[in-house]
Symmetry: C2
Subunit: 401 residues, 2 copies
Amino acid sequence: MKAGPSQDEIRRHNLGTLLRHVHIGGSVSRAVLADRMGLNRSTILGLVSELASVDLVREELPRDTGKAGRPSLVVRPESDRVYVLAFDVGVDRLTAARIGLGGVFLDRKETRTHSDRRGAREMAEVLAGLARHMVDTAPEATVCVGVGAAVRGLVRQPDGLVRAAPYIDWHDEDFGADLSRRLSLGLPVSVGNEASLGALAEHLRGSGADCQDIVYLHGDIGIGGGVITGGQLLLGDSGYGAEVGHMVVNPRGGRRCGCGAHGCLEAEAGERALLQAAQRDPSTAGREAVRAVVEAADRGDVTARAALQDIGDWLGIGVATLVNILNPRTVIFGGTLREVFLASAAQIRSRVNSHALAACRQDLRLRVGELGDDAVLIGAAELAFSAILANPMETLARADT
Amino acid sequence: MKAGPSQDEIRRHNLGTLLRHVHIGGSVSRAVLADRMGLNRSTILGLVSELASVDLVREELPRDTGKAGRPSLVVRPESDRVYVLAFDVGVDRLTAARIGLGGVFLDRKETRTHSDRRGAREMAEVLAGLARHMVDTAPEATVCVGVGAAVRGLVRQPDGLVRAAPYIDWHDEDFGADLSRRLSLGLPVSVGNEASLGALAEHLRGSGADCQDIVYLHGDIGIGGGVITGGQLLLGDSGYGAEVGHMVVNPRGGRRCGCGAHGCLEAEAGERALLQAAQRDPSTAGREAVRAVVEAADRGDVTARAALQDIGDWLGIGVATLVNILNPRTVIFGGTLREVFLASAAQIRSRVNSHALAACRQDLRLRVGELGDDAVLIGAAELAFSAILANPMETLARADT
């Protein structure tokens, strides 16, 4: 238990908090900032001036307010001054983006991976290549202030070692350090689990922006999970928390899971289980295969309907357990679980109603992700923005040198 | 997102943090406090002097240090100056305690409840009676600075309404407010779930004192749970989090649970399930009945052994799911699950090994609670101490008037 902060630390905290407000909330007046931060207007003026002096924010007239009279100035983030690089290592594709303050996508590149070139080094080199081009073509006055990467696997915190990423067969890869070296930007690469970053993104900018307790389920061959509790990402002792795909829902007689156990949620309700239940080839797993089952069910295909009902059953049981353990306000379905949820929501809700405690589910909302497939990339960008939001002036000064 | 604290808030925080260090850690030198709090020695001296001026701490020579030379003074909490009242509403007994700063039990009373007098009002009156006697016989210079109560049920936060306490048949009881009126001490009564308070106690003073991520399982007819993640109690959106007894472990063909669902952990591995599996009368559930099964197994009783193995199986599956979702460092078994764990640890570990991800269980420890049956009461006391540890001078001044 540490002592309270020094005056310097408070100033840094206040600058960072103000920057975070405009980064997440967009244009906002000084009066609203004063109210939200609990500071008086002259202190807010000082903070805004300091951030504006280094072009992190700008004050300007708001777009048409629809009100008569002279409108107040609003403070908005300068998306051209600083940016971050965000990477998403998917199962079959690699994505890189250059994202400005305020969460603006400034550039974006994607490439499909080849099944024979999935080593961590090969992938880091491909991503670094995409990034180099984006950095080289960025306007001259703009600087990179952070780098974040999402990986489908177990990522140790705080050091970001990728302990295991089964679908691309990585083990104990120091991917962040390697990527950082290849980028040569003098910046560390923060690495996070894809679903945890999706949860963070939906919490900050999506379906979970209005609450502090969220469970995010991400379908993508496997089932990944991210949990926000009391406004904080649940990491656990070593960063491996929220592996909801490996909740044991069917311990006696359940299907064998990729992890070696039987009856995991992922084994009973993942893409492969859906395809098997729909009597299709499980090795074709992926968005298109999931969509094909959903479309077949929409057309009245009995096997596809039964398959979605069965998967909805298991998902509902899994969600009920998560609701009883975590008491979230919102459960968000992302990745290919978005389609599955839309097609089997009734079944999922029915199981949640029969297995979750009445008090725990009273205010519960089941939703699809608002950010769609970009959730993971946006989460990686938010990870990368952490440094400048914690300490704007010094992070910027370091990036400028 | 709020601005950083004011100078007054920092002073309050530092006084509270220092008091918390001696409250939890006991006697400690100013040099160690300076190191732990990250403050210089003269600031520590000022904080200690202010707390000593109102008799919350005292400086004294340490007990025999075993070292030569003049020993440094140590700062210790004054357990005679302030105390809290802690209450535990058990299934078959009511407990009240007067607990001094530093966590010292100063007085303790217990009474059995009668099955026909379990209404919230009746129980509040019995507890208030026990407390009145303790307050009246307390030394004159000592004051009560907080009251906490533990209830086996769903407690809404932050207001403490008891939404449901099935084993004593309470529904939507404003128990804290009622108890506060009956006590007439001018203090609110903070109410918490029994297992969450047990988790808090074991985290601060027991088996989980050395880590920030804990799952506490409390056996007591049902199975209650408390979760500490990143050093914070997991409450969820409305305070109902950590209802681990209602994880769905056996959804197809599982036993009916008191909550109305089938296959909950509590239904498969609670005291009643153990007694049924051991071919004993489940209505006799309680510590003695659990001990009798464990002792029979120790003597070689085949049915009792098989029953403990079966229960250990379900507990292991439940713990595996918790380990995958929460990645705790320590899982603690308290209440009657202490005995069950000791008798079926091998079975539990085997299931955890087969169902939890290797990375998630790598540093995992399974332990019994160090605080025994007092964990819940100690947790209620810590809840009651929150006010004075957040703001020592004003809380004390208010209590003294």
